[in-house]
Symmetry: C2
Subunit: 204 residues, 2 copies
């Protein structure tokens, strides 16, 4: 198909598609003349993946590039695929994180039995979040309490994993886009669960 | 104490305290002369609550006012107190929500056994979030799957309720500030739980 048809099928303007081509996010089509190229369904899928990551997942262009590089590189196992998808949606870390809190978070994660690489960025992020919690609401930064939240997180992850597709591109999209879009749902369900529990306890 | 001492003890500039007084967030002190007033520890507590809600909780001035009005109004039971704290941290709703999705969310919540008022804003929010999920990752908007997330949310709410203080001001602060600050912790734990589960499944 011509680039105009690729545009029609994906609802993405031709100028944007040309931008993706220049940036190397979208592989070149097969040249059919000096100025024309032909595209196929792999291009349609790729454009849809880029849009899902950027629009629904809120990923920046450079984060989308990271995801696509993993997809286009040598095959990796599903565990490494998960790591790539997670890093794409991890917010930038503070420039000078508090090492002691990173250590505290690392120990907490090890105590909970989660096997995670020592240089995992999420450990720095968790440490910073625990630090904020400890300064504003110390009772909530209690490790026994956090361990109970971690138990609930295990239940969330079990649900997440029950619907990860087989093919690498779909799995990357599901983890990156699916996690970003279901995060707010989970937080809203948390509040509704609080109301449900409160109504029950107050005998309504 | 003088306003300067109230400022020292709370680390909030005098100009900001005067602003809180003008806005009615902070009750007037006891007049000791035509231009001076005396403040006590209830003012210190109130200023700290305002700062916790605004700085740690990220609440706007008008949301803080809502919380304080409940606190200063006639006594309400703990269930209504929870509602006030939750409304203070609920993001603005879309102007034209999709009624069908609100209905879907309302039915989902009822099916899960959570007793919630019909005009609860969180039902509109959940409906919109389910709509977004259904358009980008339909498999994740499946109600049986969401019911499993709701089960994990019940576990989160149980933990939340295990540490709600007795006094109304502390309970309001805990629900508003505590929920906002522990939300990101829970989302990070979700990702680490995914890694832990993935490492286990891949036999690492």
């Amino acid at each position: 198909m011509l680039i105009s048809e690729l545009s029609d099928r994906t609802q993405v303007p031709v100028a944007t598609l040309k931008y993706y081509l220049r940036e190397g996010l979208l592989p070149a089509g097969t040249a059919t003349s000096r100025t024309r190229a032909s595209y196929d369904t792999t291009h349609v899928d790729r454009v849809r993946l880029i849009r899902a990551l950027m629009e629904s997942g809120g990923l920046s262009l450079s984060r989308v590039r990271q995801v696509l590089e993993t997809l286009d590189g040598p095959p990796v196992d599903r565990h490494d695929l998960l790591g790539t998808a997670q890093r794409a949606i991890t917010p930038p870390l503070p420039e000078r994180p508090d090492d002691e809190w990173t250590q505290t978070a690392t120990q907490f994660v090890a105590d909970h039995g989660w096997q995670v690489d020592d240089d995992e960025p999420l450990l720095v992020l968790l440490g910073e979040q625990m630090r904020t919690l400890a300064s504003a609401e110390p009772e909530l930064a209690d490790e026994a309490l956090l361990a109970r939240y971690a138990g609930a997180a295990d239940a969330l992850a079990e649900v997440d994993f029950s619907v990860v597709p087989e093919t690498p591109a779909d799995a990357l999209r599901r983890v990156a886009v699916g996690t970003v879009l279901s995060d707010p749902v989970i937080l809203t369900l948390r509040r509704l669960a609080q109301q449900g529990l409160s109504a029950r306890l107050s005998g309504r």
